[in-house]
């Protein structure tokens, strides 16, 4: 009984003693203050900052110098087309030509095309017998258009179960010129087209454009509408 009481008292004493260390006794206040006010020299601090951090793992691999390879940009489409051109008053005739596109953003592209066709006979010539309004050379119709296009409806088309191809319905409009009947005229063109990409680098185009220009060929000055429908193929670069 006695020994149990002694253990209890000794334990209590031990607990209080450990607590005493954290108390600020009046006689130890000066010493605390001195410790707080002891100046740490700037040099020491700097040295501490500059000291290498404790090494955990020694890197044995040299840091690789990486050169960025040139990334191929495939924004240009080059190709050709074949189709029909309806020259106002001169009938519908085959047209063929070349086209080049530059895709500036995913939505907008520039297009340049150059086409050639040959005009037929006007109904006046057909009915009039031996009347010739134009020579053979003058019937040649050559034109170029510089257009700005917008991919209005980008999407995908599916053929069967296993084939999905990217596509886009685009609208375009621009300026250019047409050489016809011995004269070169300023033209304005606008239209729409459909592009399907069987692979990433090949595109099939169907497009319809109206090439408009002022003409006084048949006596009075008028705005002529010349519709062209093209089927084309282009390759991306």
């Amino acid at each position: 009984m006695e020994s149990r009481a002694r253990v209890l008292l000794l334990s209590a004493l031990l607990l209080t003693l450990s607590g005493c260390a954290s108390l600020h006794w009046p006689w130890s206040r000066d010493r605390d203050k001195a410790a707080a006010e002891e100046p740490v020299s700037a040099a020491d601090e700097e040295a501490a900052n500059n000291a290498p951090p404790p090494k955990v793992i020694e890197p044995t691999v040299e840091r690789r110098k990486v050169k960025v390879n040139k990334i191929d940009s495939e924004n240009i489409e080059l190709g050709g087309f074949y189709g029909a051109l309806s020259i106002e008053d001169f009938g519908t005739n085959p047209v063929y030509g070349i086209r080049a596109d530059y895709h500036v953003t995913e939505d907008i592209f520039f297009e340049a095309n150059f086409g050639r066709s040959k005009a037929g006979r006007t109904s006046f010539e057909t009915l009039g017998g031996n009347v010739q309004l134009l020579t053979d050379a003058e019937r040649r119709f050559t034109y170029y258009n510089l257009s700005l296009g917008y991919n209005l409806l980008p999407g995908e088309v599916y053929i069967g179960r296993n084939l999905a191809m990217n596509s886009a319905l685009y609208v375009l409009g621009g300026i250019g010129s047409a050489k016809f009947a011995g004269d070169q005229r300023f033209t304005v063109n606008f239209g729409a087209g459909y592009r399907v990409l069987p692979t990433d680098w090949l595109a099939i185009h169907i497009d319809v454009q109206d090439v408009v220009f002022q003409s006084d060929l048949l006596g009075r000055d008028k705005l002529t509408n010349n519709f062209a429908a093209h089927l084309g193929a282009t390759v991306f670069f």
Binding site: R63, R64, K65, V66, V68, N69, I71, D72, S73, E74, N75, L78, G79, G80, Y96, G97, I98, Y102, H103, V104, T105, E106, I108, F110, R116, Q132, L133, L134, T135, A137, E138, R140, T142, L146, L148, N151, P154, G155, E156, A164, N166, A168, G174, I175, G176, S177, K179, G182, D183, Q184, R185, F186, D200, W201, L217, L218, G219, V235, F236, F237
Partner: protein, 265 residues
Amino acid sequence: MVRSTSTTRSIPLFRSTSVLVVTWLALAFCIAGAAHAADKSEKLQELFVSEAYLELHEGPGRGYAVTQVVPRGEAIDVLYRRTEWFRVRTHRGVEGWAHQRDMRKTLLADGSTFTFDLGDRAGFTRHNWEMGVLAGDYGGATLVSTYLSRAFNEQMAIEFTGSQFLGNATNGYTAELGLIHVARPDWRLSPFLTLGAGMIWIKPKSTLVLPSDRDDQTAYAGAGLRFYVTRRFFVRAEYRFHMVFTSRNENEEINEWKAGLAFFF
């Protein structure tokens, strides 16, 4: 009204259009074939995904479905780029299109970020190439004009301009090579000065009595404005004063005004 028959002559280029078309197509397919063959032999750029994942779209457009994701830390190879999209391939062989916004967050093998030309306002200030189509007035004739320019630095560039003018009395072409100096490329609306020389081919209309074509040398000085619109596009408007050195006693002066849309790359 029956047109005269003897005055028109076709330009040789037009006469050989079919040859041109065939050559063009053959060239197109050859270059394409060569380019794709070269693609395979070239070393592809390897990048590492540093975000939680990288989305791969089915096509190079914002609307195409995301069909694959590449998790953080995995490596991808960049095959090629089309506008703002990169065609990439994972090491498991999965291919897809990643947007440039996401590609900016990928890392090179040394841990540095992958940087590339974004086609934004900074690109308007500094770029290598520039191209545009303009329309306007060339001494009273309607003008269709294109140009291509190559920059030396932010302010100076050399540019080639090819134009066609279509007037009441004459038609013709011009080809000019000149220097352009952009005063403040960092401004959204930036003025520029230009100076150059070239050639002009004047073809009188068949209905007129003037017998022959003329080709003369020209020199020009001009000034204009460029205004950055968005992405890679800017509007360009300019005035050029041309001096045509004719074979006659007097030189000819032509004023050219034009405006149009251009882009840099």
